[in-house]
């Protein structure tokens, strides 16, 4: 092995290793969309089915109580509540319910909602056909809107040994602001940003 070919071989090896490093940095950023995809596909961590959901295929006698929960991030000047506290549905039965949102500020504000289902085991059977959370919502000053959710709990849950004993499912939403509103200051840090002279430090 001459010195020249040895050096070329070293360079080639190093190039491969640098590619691995770049790949791992990329993966750390890609973990966000990858994890989201994983949850949507498997219902992991209470992620309900929202993509390409087909209409319910069958209804069985077993019932389950679906409770509705609503939260608003403090940066969003809205009131947000479910119209019903909870409903009892048969597995497979499609049901329409509503949430009500009011813009309490004097400016139009845009927000969107994240959502989650508890307990985790029910998530993969919780199918949303229609939901306000699929898109951003913009409310005019003082505007009140009624936002529909069309869902069903898949009848297959009655056959899942890990999920068939579930009698109560909670569907939870958290609305947060997505428009320009507070872009210039860190979103969680209203107090600290004010206390810190000189902006970014």
């Amino acid at each position: 092995m001459s010195a020249r070919t040895g050096r070329a071989r070293n360079r080639a090896s190093a190039a491969v290793l640098f590619t691995v490093v770049a790949g791992m940095v990329g993966l750390s950023f890609a973990s966000v969309p990858l994890y989201r995809l994983f949850c949507q596909v498997t219902g992991y961590a209470g992620t309900p089915k929202t993509d390409n959901v087909a209409a319910s295929t069958g209804v069985v006698e077993q019932t389950v109580t679906v409770q509705f929960d609503a939260n608003v991030n403090s940066d969003l000047p809205w009131r947000f509540n479910p119209a019903d506290r909870g409903v009892e549905v048969r597995l497979g039965e499609e049901r329409l319910t509503h949430y009500v949102a009011v813009n309490l500020s004097d400016r139009p504000v845009t927000g969107t909602a994240t959502f989650n289902v508890a307990p985790d085991g029910a998530a993969q059977y919780f199918s949303k056909l229609e939901c306000f959370c699929f898109t951003e919502q913009t409310l005019a000053p003082g505007q009140e809107v009624t936002m529909p959710v069309l869902f069903y709990v898949d009848a297959a849950m009655a056959d899942d040994i890990d999920a068939r004993d579930i009698r109560k499912i909670t569907l939870s939403y958290t609305f947060y602001r997505t428009d320009e509103g507070d872009k210039n200051k860190p979103k969680t840090a209203g107090v600290a940003a004010a206390a810190k002279p000189g902006g970014n430090g």
Partner: protein
């Protein structure tokens, strides 16, 4: 012999002197020496911080560290310093640089200039980290830097940004160093030095380098997200913008768990060399040892969430991570049994490095057993963030690694400096240090089981007794540590000239075939390694005449 010719040859080459020799250095031995000096400086800084922590914890109440954020900064800086600027530079940068090329019969590292920038990036990282303590409120986040505590809301000054950039620099240095080591080990072994003949220290560095290559970029990515969250309004870790602080925990521990193996694997390698040398036997089960390290490295990447049992992950995830974590005990057990089997029937010489190797086994087994306890998600719910965890990881990884470093230092200082350490003083230093660290950390198991939380400078009176014992242990440890620095001075001032091989027939690896101190250039004419059993065997490695 080969090196006799090269020593004369080397003098004709460009051989910088004065400060240029060090700052511009492309020589693996000089760079290794600089890494070891860096580690010695950082160890003193990190050590002083830990002694201040133990002073404050000696008795209940806030007595000495009256600024509690400063206590948080001390805890944080102690962790960062010891992990990134003591153990990693000493083992990988120091011993790795010095002895990987010597042991595989290579003239130097594959990329000498990259080797230089690796070191100086690490040194710059150390400076930045020390600066961070003097900016604003200082980084009081713990070495885990969890948001939201590390977010701009709770650490509004630039201190955490300094810390992030310090880790970026040290991380970049580590990645470059890892690439250099892998290329060197894969491409530059002397003829006959096959992968399965490499000494186990080289194996340990190879596995460690791969862990660095795969884990540190993830830390870099996670830190970059934290930096942009703090300064540019992104919301990777902020729920308000659709992010999730748990993302940090997953990314951090995907790096952080392999990181603890990055720290302990080179220690495994050093201990294998020590036990083989001083038992005058080849390592028992050489291939099993090599592949046990590889297995530990692999499994290390799929157990990270055992640091997150109480973060709300699902019960099935906890069950998986419990089982996966316990599986690590299998390859680790292989290593412990192989070390004992190496000693079994050997003609053991209890020189200071061997004492440290046996001390390592003691500490590592105790820490390993408590690790299996903590691997259980159910038990961890009770013990999470208590002093039981502090005791566990100091035993299994921190102090165990320090024992391997002391052992390696005494083992190799003759080769590195040309002067042999004082045997009697080193043995005394071992015993004081061994007694000290056990008094220091063993009672912390009791404190943790009784429910004392980590990272808090005050505690109820009920914990006073064992905390005082622990602090007395810290004082003893401090005495032994300072004695180590004295022994270094004593070695350079009064040390006897070291022979090429001061250890006799047990020391069969190639570094003992060159003179002590190792000349500036070694193995310029490649040694040829004869067959005859695995690389660690008796007389398996002989430089060609």
């Amino acid at each position: 012999m080969a090196y006799a010719a090269t020593a004369g040859h080397g003098e004709h080459e460009h051989h910088p002197t004065g400060w240029r020799r060090w700052v511009y250095s492309t020589n693996h031995k000089d760079i290794g020496t600089m890494y070891i000096i860096l580690a010695l400086v950082a160890a003193l800084l990190g050590g002083v911080m830990s002694w201040i922590i133990r002073l404050e914890l000696a008795s209940p109440g806030i007595e000495y560290v009256t600024n509690i954020q400063f206590y948080n900064v001390l805890v944080t800086a102690h962790g960062f310093l010891m992990v990134f600027f003591v153990v990693m530079p000493a083992m990988i940068g120091g011993f790795g640089n010095w002895f990987v090329p010597l042991m595989i019969g290579a003239p130097d590292m594959a990329f000498p200039r990259m080797n230089n920038i690796s070191f100086w990036l690490t040194a710059a990282g150390l400076v930045l980290l020390m600066c961070s303590a003097f900016v604003g409120e200082g980084p009081g986040t713990g070495w885990t830097v969890y948001p939201p505590l590390s977010s701009i809301a709770y650490h509004p000054s630039a201190a955490v940004d300094f810390g992030i950039l310090a880790l970026h620099l040290a991380g970049a240095g580590s990645i470059l160093g890892a690439i250099n080591l892998i290329v060197t080990i894969f491409n530059m072994r002397a003829p006959g030095m096959t992968i399965h003949r490499m000494p186990l220290f080289v194996w340990s560095i190879l596995v460690t380098a791969f862990l660095l290559l795969l884990a540190v970029p993830v830390l870099a990515g996670a830190l970059t997200m934290l930096l942009t969250d703090r300064n540019f309004g992104t919301t990777f870790y902020s729920v308000a913008g659709g992010g999730d602080p748990l993302l940090w925990q997953h990314l951090f521990w995907f790096f952080g768990h392999p990181e603890v193996y990055i720290i302990i694997l080179p220690a495994f390698g050093i201990i294998s060399q020590l036990i083989s040398t001083f038992s005058k036997k080849p390592v028992f089960g050489y291939l099993g040892m090599a592949y046990a390290m590889s297995a530990i490295g692999f499994v290390g990447f799929i157990v990270w969430a055992h640091h997150m049992y109480t973060s709300g992950i699902g019960v099935n995830a906890r069950a998986y991570f419990t089982v996966a974590t316990m599986i690590i005990a299998v390859p680790t057990g292989i290593k412990i049994f192989s070390w004992l089997a190496t000693m079994w029937g050997g003609s053991i010489e209890f020189k200071a490095p061997m004492l440290f190797a046996i001390g390592f086994l003691w500490l590592f087994v105790i820490g390993g057993v408590t690790g299996v306890v903590l691997a259980n998600a159910g038990i961890d719910f009770v013990l999470h963030d208590t002093y039981y965890v502090v005791a566990h990881f100091h035993y299994v990884m921190a102090i165990a690694a320090i024992f391997a470093m002391f052992g390696g230092f005494y083992y190799w200082i003759g080769k590195m400096s040309g002067r042999q350490y004082p045997e009697g003083l080193a043995k005394i230093q071992f015993w004081i240090f061994f007694v000290g660290v056990n008094i220091l950390f063993f009672p912390q198991h009791f404190l943790g089981l009784a429910g004392m939380p980590r990272r808090i400078p005050d505690y109820p009176d009920a914990f006073a007794g064992w905390n005082m014992v622990s602090s007395v242990g810290a004082a003893i440890t401090m005495a032994a540590t300072l004695m180590f620095y004295y022994i270094i001075w004593h070695t350079f001032r009064y040390g006897k000239a070291a022979e090429a091989n001061p250890w006799g027939e047990g020391a069969t690896t190639l570094e003992w075939s060159v003179p002590s101190p190792a000349p500036f250039h070694t193995h310029e004419e490649l040694p040829v390694i004869s067959g005859g059993g695995h690389g660690h065997g008796h007389g398996g490695l002989k430089p060609a005449e």
